[in-house]
């Protein structure tokens, strides 16, 4: 294959700081692959970037239909960025349905690239267009670039002997080639990847590389574009980088914890969107002694993890919101038997089945309070894809040291999003502390607590002299026997609670983005980190006294949190729920924190948080999200 190197002399090259591109098409069109490949190329080039895939729950909705549209948005920049962008500057739409569901997000005068061959009568009808939008003037406010991607790809693959259907499958490589040309990127990263990926299918490899090259050459020769664009590398820290998604980082963090603890990892899980990738990743890591157990249901998954923990292994389970609900009784068994257990909840839009592939942060109160009795667990929340790695290790550090269940609250945005990651030094991570009880002779009390951590001894089967019985029934703090003694139950409940609270002693000082006092503090948790940080930085750019902090420790809260909140006149809590964290903050600190809630299955846009900040600072009137209230309901 040839990579063209010549640029026509009249071709203008514009330098941009940041570009946001969204690839969208039918879920069978390979848009996730196209987006991922462009991302890799930009990363290797040295741009900072963030991605957000948005795909339907249906594996293959009817071809060309509106529910079948799959999209992948990425933002790449020559400066540090925190989000995949509010609105795309460039939209690549492979069919009418993709255009219809996405064009509303494109910035005015944005670049709109379509496969015009797909705008035929059948597809227009499937997308409920009464006239062809390419011809009826409705797209006038965008820079419309019509390319016959389908037929151009077919022509490029004329010699391959592939069927028309197979040729059609290489369209996404053609589109990728066009975009790589537009941003002056080489085909090398994608070519290398394809050579690996299609090693066993030389015909497919050949077709895809031919399509990629044809797309690139088309950009070069077609004179459709006014300019090419350049986004220079971002000034990032030197080091070895890789790509990481949140779920990958989560799995790697758990294995890292296993290595650092010197204990085997057991993962019990039942497939559920968007947590299944953790099961896929861990099942590949058997060489690190990881045993994965695809259980018959959510309850069996957590039960097996508890059994593994009882036996002295690192028992881990993972799920999404509906699964957390099913696991709650068993999590309480781990609360009562005081075993180390980590439970991952990759949150998704609920309630019930909700919108499985869409993002939401509405399980915090379930994690906190969704069990019978006075049941206290530790709750951590990673804030970016790569942060999942560190918080996964932290979850195990706490679980093993305090003999306590830890809920790791990820979300679909963090889990499926990806970012370049400067590979951290593994050797500098300290070993994780744990100890099994040993036979010191005489009577063994399974509830004799460590005075510092209040952890009970981990007495695993196989050791003579430590034979004992545990279970869900309340036990005597003195003997470990069943006890209905009133004072004992009070003491044991308080000990289980205080053990969780003592974790706060080791929480590092809370990082504040901006000055440590001012007019407004924006408090967030989880995947809203990028949007909040960007909006707050912009507000400070306007000279406002606004700071933000992002909570990675939610139960217990960091010990310095109350004091920090008190140093700001106003506190704003944006969340993708009807108000979970804000409720906890108000209850604990008696602070008049203002909620800002979006429950749309989509992440916050920076401008939405900016709008709310402006409202609270009196820069503008009341800010409303653009969702019309249902009739009869207040807009809230």
């Amino acid at each position: 294959m040839t990579t063209p190197t010549l640029t026509r002399p009249e071709q203008r090259v514009e330098e941009l700081e940041r570009v946001t591109i969204r690839f969208c098409g039918d879920s069978g069109d390979g848009m996730q692959l196209t987006g991922t490949q462009f991302t890799r190329t930009a990363a290797v080039y040295g741009n900072d970037l963030a991605t957000y895939p948005d795909f339907p729950a249906e594996i293959r909705a009817p071809t060309g239909s509106l529910p079948g549209v799959s999209g992948f948005q990425l933002s790449f920049a020559s400066t540090e960025i925190y989000t995949p962008g509010d609105a795309p500057d460039v939209l690549v739409a492979m069919n009418p349905a993709a255009l219809k569901t996405n064009v509303g997000d494109l910035v005015e005068t944005g670049l709109l690239i379509v496969d015009e061959a797909e705008f035929n009568a059948v597809n227009l009808k499937k997308a409920a267009y009464s006239s062809n939008p390419l011809d009826d003037g409705s797209l006038a406010k965008y820079q419309l670039i019509r390319i016959d991607i389908t037929h151009n790809t077919e022509k490029a693959l004329a010699e391959t002997g592939l069927s028309v259907k197979d040729k059609f499958r290489s369209r996404n490589f053609y589109a990728l080639g066009v975009i790589l040309w537009l941003y002056g990127r080489s085909l090398e990263t994608t070519t290398r990847w394809a050579e690996q990926q299609f090693k066993r299918r030389p015909d497919v490899l050949d077709a895809n590389l031919k399509a990629l090259s044809a797309g690139y050459n088309f950009g070069e020769t077609a004179e459709l574009f006014h300019a090419r664009y350049e986004v220079k590398p971002a000034p990032v820290k030197p080091g070895v980088y890789r790509h990481i998604s949140g779920n990958e980082a989560t799995a790697l963090g758990f294995v890292a914890a296993s290595v650092k603890a010197g204990l085997p990892l057991f993962y019990g899980s039942y497939p559920i969107t968007p947590a299944s990738d953790i099961l896929h990743e861990l099942s590949k890591l058997k060489s690190f002694g990881v045993k994965t157990f695809q259980a018959e249901d959510e309850i069996a998954a957590v039960g097996a993890a508890i059994g593994a923990a009882y036996g002295g292994a690192m028992g881990l389970t993972g799920t999404s919101g509906p699964g957390l609900a099913l696991k709650s009784e068993a999590i309480n068994l781990a609360v009562m038997t005081e075993l180390p257990l980590v439970i991952v909840d990759v949150q998704r839009a609920g309630p019930s089945t909700g919108m499985p592939t869409k993002v939401e942060q509405s399980d915090l109160l379930q994690a906190m309070y969704g069990r019978n009795g006075d049941s206290h667990v530790v709750i951590l929340a990673p804030q970016t894809p790569s942060d999942c790695y560190f918080m996964a290790i932290e979850a195990w550090r706490i679980a093993l040291k305090y003999m306590v269940p830890v809920i790791f609250l990820s979300d679909g945005y963090v889990a499926n999003g990806s970012e370049p990651w400067r590979i951290p030094d593994f050797d500098s991570i300290p070993k994780l502390e744990w100890k099994y009880a040993t036979n010191k002779g005489g009577f063994f009390n399974p509830y004799e607590r460590d005075p510092e951590t209040l952890a009970r001894p981990w007495a695993v089967p196989g050791q003579a002299g430590l034979e004992h019985r545990v279970g869900g029934i309340e036990k005597s703090s003195e003997t470990g026997d069943i006890s209905y003694d009133p004072g004992n139950h009070h003491r044991m409940t308080m000990a289980r609670k205080e053990r969780v609270e003592r974790v706060a002693r080791e929480i590092p000082p809370t990082e504040i983005n901006g000055p440590d006092s001012g007019d407004l503090l924006v408090v967030g948790w989880g995947g809203t980190y990028g949007a909040i940080t960007s909006a707050v930085n912009r507000a400070r750019g306007r000279g406002k006294k606004v700071s933000s902090l992002h909570l990675r420790y939610i139960n217990p809260f960091p010990p310095d949190l109350g004091e920090i909140l008190s140093r700001f006149d106003k506190v704003l809590v944006p969340e993708l729920n009807t108000g979970n964290l804000v409720w906890m903050l108000r209850a604990k600190y008696l602070v008049d924190a203002v909620p800002f809630n979006k429950i749309a299955g989509q992440p916050f846009k920076i401008r939405e948080i900016t709008g709310k900040i402006q409202e609270l600072l009196g820069e503008s009137g009341p800010y409303e999200l653009g969702f019309a209230p249902a009739s009869g309901l207040s807009g809230g």
Partner: protein
Amino acid sequence: MTTAYSVPIDNGSLIGDDLPVYTRKDFVSNQEVRWCPGCGDYGILAQMQKMLPNLGVRREDLVFISGIGCSSRFPYYVETYGFHSIHGRALTLASGLKVTRPELKVFVITGDGDGLSIGGNHLLHAMRRNLDLTVVLFNNRIYGLTKGQYSPTSEIGKITKSSPVGTTESPLSPIKIALAAGATFVARTIDRDIKHLEQTLDAAARHKGISFVEVYQNCNVFNDNAFAAFTDKEVRQDKMLYLENGKPMRFGSNNEHGIRLNGFMPEVVHDVADDSSLIHHDTTANPVLASILAGMDYPEYPVPVGIFRAVDAPTYEDLVSEQVAHAQAGGTPDFNSLLRGGETWVVD
């Protein structure tokens, strides 16, 4: 760097080596047994405690896991490791424990409500996986701990506190379920025949793979004499069929009755000289004949007890361990190279 593939417990070689000589008393805990006086559970506990000393397993390598119900109090009374879990879920804990600690001998104690109603799903899957667990299901055909509601094994029409004019649902057969789910060891015994009970528990405990034992257990408070019509000493010989491997299926105080097949149907032959009785082979891989035996319901047929099936198959935990060992055949992996695996780039 430390990498661990198994739980770092140092307790010497695990089974058989320098095994202490145990007696029944070594397996009696200091807990006061709180079942109702006269409960069939006492007999099962006693035979278990009698069997354990001779099993060839160290006491500290034994674990009893239970769910919720009268039977599930069992672990408190056995002096070894015990876990009284939540309703229906004992098998899930046992599965996770056994996969990570294959060297332990794990018993699961359950009942007809715990094992077949709330925990029914787990029973099916533990059986098809063939984990090396011994499952003892106390079937008293009633909910005892909640004071007398019908259970999934209660006969249709049964009058209980929650069915004052009789139930309207058919009972499950635990043996049929075990066979259908592919359990490699399936047996039935009764609380009132202590010798048979001990032998059955012993055979089950020695089986490698999942062993399932249904024990007909009398609840003398809420469902007294549920099985008396065939388990009473006076009638047992005539009303029960003791299955013995390699022996003809004959019963009666003088072995005067036999079971033979008529097409696909079993039939009772009353002839001391008849030699057409089936010969019992519990090691037959095909479970069809065992299923036919499982379908022999009283009073039309004598109640079969003994081992219906005992076949060899690889265990789940061994297959999992083999996969891990295979993945590790290349030597100790380095976590740093895992982090750097795949595509990387350098920023200077």
